[in-house]
């Protein structure tokens, strides 16, 4: 039974600085909140810095987690209020039906796979020369490519993006109305992976946060994506799609 958690992070604690700087450290802290064996089921998380002074961590876990270690190291252990909230995710999954609309937010890592890069690095060239036909995973780095990556895949994920309601009468070059989706954050993350030295031990990823509204076309596929995540780098804070009520219109 899945659970969604929300944990408040105190950005002034030494431990939280480490967590906010490195998705790898955050992944470790998230995994530490789950008592079961690691890699038994997919854990998804996302950091929402709507207010950068009060970041919130959302985590979707298969079993009921405990976050007291995060509160002690990276929260306000003695403060009033709710340190973290854990809720059953099933009420949301029961609401999914074809044609229903929700507001969504997703932080993803858009990539493409190719075995013929335009400008191969020396390392990639060496692999090509050695006759290795395995593809390379390359990150999309422009906002246009990142948005296209998202919009061409939405039907595969069980939803589509309707036209933006408050941009009536506006069309793009192809005569299509703009979709109700915004990129609210784009970030290039670069962090070390373990104590080993060398190129292999360093991770560079381009994460991008999408926000907008969606309309469900296939609830079963969407349920699978909500629980299993979208795109690569799921350990590093990407892939958690969350739904919320649509904002009130006039």
């Amino acid at each position: 039974m899945p659970y969604l958690s929300r944990i408040r992070i105190n950005p002034l604690r030494a431990q939280s600085r480490k967590l906010l700087a490195s998705p790898r450290a955050m992944h470790g802290a998230v995994q530490a909140g789950i008592p079961g064996e690691p890699d038994q089921s997919r854990t998804l998380w996302r950091l929402d810095p709507d207010n950068p002074h009060r970041p919130q961590l959302f985590v979707l876990t298969a079993n009921r987690p405990d976050w007291s270690h995060l509160v002690e190291q990276a929260g306000w252990p003695d403060a009033d209020g709710e340190h973290y909230a854990v809720r059953d995710y099933a009420p949301l999954l029961r609401q999914l039906a074809p044609g229903r609309s929700f507001a969504f937010r997703l932080t993803a890592n858009p990539v493409q796979n190719t075995n013929r890069p335009d400008k191969p690095t020396t390392r990639q060239q060496a692999r090509i020369d050695a006759g290795d036909r395995r593809g390379f995973r390359l990150g999309h780095r422009t906002a246009e490519a990142q948005l296209k990556w998202f919009l061409t895949r939405t039907l595969r994920w069980g939803f589509d993006i309707p036209a933006a309601p408050d941009l009536d009468g506006i069309h793009d070059a192809a005569g299509e109305p703009p979709r109700d989706i915004r990129i609210i954050a784009r970030r290039r993350r670069s962090f070390g992976k373990g104590s080993a030295t060398g190129k292999e031990a360093h991770v560079v990823m381009n994460s991008v946060t999408f926000e907008g509204s969606l309309r469900i076309t296939d609830p079963d596929i969407l349920t699978e994506r909500l629980l299993g995540g979208i795109g690569p780098s799921k350990a590093y804070g990407c892939g958690l799609l969350t739904l919320a009520p649509l904002p009130e219109k006039e």
Partner: protein
């Protein structure tokens, strides 16, 4: 700053596709401030009144000025190159013994210049002063002697430019004036902010006790003797009426994305 007696406030709506308010631009890079300068507004009033470049502008520079930023707009960088159409080298600043400008050495054939503009910005400028002068200036702006522009000759103002005269303190007048944006902008803002009745707009006011200094008060616009002095200003936020009616059933949203709202408490 203003003599005793009836003072009045003239409201100008400074809106246009392009505006440019330079205060210390030099040479080939002509920048713009994010909001109108006092020399720009005084120059507009002087042009409307038909004053020549050499005329005295002390009375206009002594008026109190308040600027409210109704819509900040965005910055446009305009890239120019300038060359001599005959293909000759450009002239240097140095002159020969005959007083003729020398060509650049080594020969330079192209100047790269950059001009900066504000796109799609709307400002509300309030000019405070003695009643008779303000009335004369309002008449002058409605019947200008020279073409009016917003900071640069190519930036033609959009209508309406004059919103009329008000009485009262400069800050109160600026606070009471409705938000000067288009209906579409106001409605879009209202959808995101639950149709709140007031919007906080940044404003800059002349204030002898202010803690910031601007070097944009004109002493003379004479082409060979352009001089400026400083003024003290103060920044504040003014809650201006939006003209929208808030719906009591829908309190202002937090603005964020709350996935817990669907999970049932």
């Amino acid at each position: 700053m203003t003599p005793p007696g009836r003072t009045s406030v003239l409201l100008l709506r400074l809106a246009a596709p392009l505006q440019s308010w330079g205060d210390r631009s030099m040479f080939n890079r002509r920048e713009t401030r994010p909001e109108p300068t006092k020399s720009g507004v005084v120059g507009l009033l002087a042009a409307a009144a038909g004053r020549s470049r050499h005329a005295d502008v002390d009375d206009l520079a002594g008026l109190g000025l308040g600027i409210r930023v109704d819509q900040p707009g965005s910055l446009l960088r305009d890239y120019h190159t300038v060359s001599d159409y005959r293909g000759r080298p450009l002239l240097s600043a140095a002159v020969s013994a005959n007083g003729v400008q020398k060509p650049t050495s080594p020969a330079k054939r192209t100047h790269v210049t950059q001009r900066f503009y504000l796109q799609d910005a709307v400002f509300l400028a309030a000019v405070e002063g003695p009643g008779e002068l303000i009335t004369a200036l309002e008449h002058a702006v409605r019947h200008p002697a020279f073409p009016l522009s917003l900071g640069r000759r190519s930036c033609v103002p959009a209508q309406p430019l004059v919103l009329g005269q008000r009485t009262g303190a400069l800050e109160d007048v600026l606070r009471a004036e409705p938000w000067q944006v288009t209906k579409a902008v106001r409605n879009r803002w209202g959808r995101r902010n639950s149709n709140a009745a007031h919007v906080d707009l940044p404003a800059t006011l002349d204030d002898p006790a202010g803690d910031e200094i601007r070097d944009d008060v004109p002493l003379s616009f004479a082409p060979t003797n352009r001089t400026f002095t400083t003024r003290r200003i103060r920044h504040t936020y003014l809650a201006a009426p939006t003209g929208l009616t808030p719906d009591p059933d829908h309190p202002p949203a937090t603005g964020g994305h709350d996935p817990f709202a669907l999970l049932g408490w």
